[in-house]
Symmetry: C2
Subunit: 143 residues, 2 copies
Amino acid sequence: MEEKIFKEFLEKKGLKFTKERASVLKEVFSNHGHFDLDALLIKMRRKGIRVSKASIYRTLPLLLECGLVEQVEKVDKHAHYEHTFGHGHHDHLICIKCGKVISLFSEKLEKLQESLCKKEKFKCITHTLEIRGYCERCGSSAR
Amino acid sequence: MEEKIFKEFLEKKGLKFTKERASVLKEVFSNHGHFDLDALLIKMRRKGIRVSKASIYRTLPLLLECGLVEQVEKVDKHAHYEHTFGHGHHDHLICIKCGKVISLFSEKLEKLQESLCKKEKFKCITHTLEIRGYCERCGSSAR
DNA sequence: TTACATGCAAACGGTTTGCACCCGG
DNA sequence: CCGGGTGCAAACCGTTTGCATGTAA
């Protein structure tokens, strides 16, 4: 369970599992799909959970560091995230019209990337593949 | 030649080919490799070329739009760019230690992406693959 | 001549930080 | 009790913009 992973991670670093961190974690895992920081805050406020924006900003890097959350780039100008638990690494198709994000994972793609890194003697840690274009719905009406 | 492409692009949009735009274009194409806006400005100042930061900020989107420049994401917190003329689209390996950017292009990778898009009925316009890790030099000394 | 561009400096807006108080271990 | 955490508001800083002036076509 994600809470256990997070707790152990914090403990290992001599950090505390506070109620604020617990609620951010819980909220992040309560929906699938990507989110941005403001949306997260708003949803938490609606549920009556009190956390400051600063705490969310301070918690997210920890979640990234322990691998429970990944960053999705370039949806718009702020950072977007999504939790990884239960689906692991994957890539994204981002619709430049409606903003929809389609996740996909391709074993073949991962393998190919690995071999490209090997060719360059590059030690791959993470990667991000983002394909921008029009989703099925927007594709037909696209200019 | 890139200047011709840019001129035609501007003309088509009813915009002007000013000396500021010309010098930004020239500077962008005077070195290979990626750059950020401040570095570009500093280099231009050193050469005695006077352009305001605002003009560079206003010129770069045009260069992106006409495909002469592409954006490289996530090197650090500001936007990085590179011109595409003479090498076309390619992907990046970014060293998270020294910041080195290795460009690579793989036909196989492009084909694979295309077929993934087709499967999702997604009309691909652009894509970005960025692999972060350690380059050969930093890989050995990495913690 | 007349849009469109430029330079400057001010405004923006997402993210980070300093600080006084709080609390998990 | 102590060292890390929180909330708040201010500071940051890259990017955008308003405006008076300049200039390509």
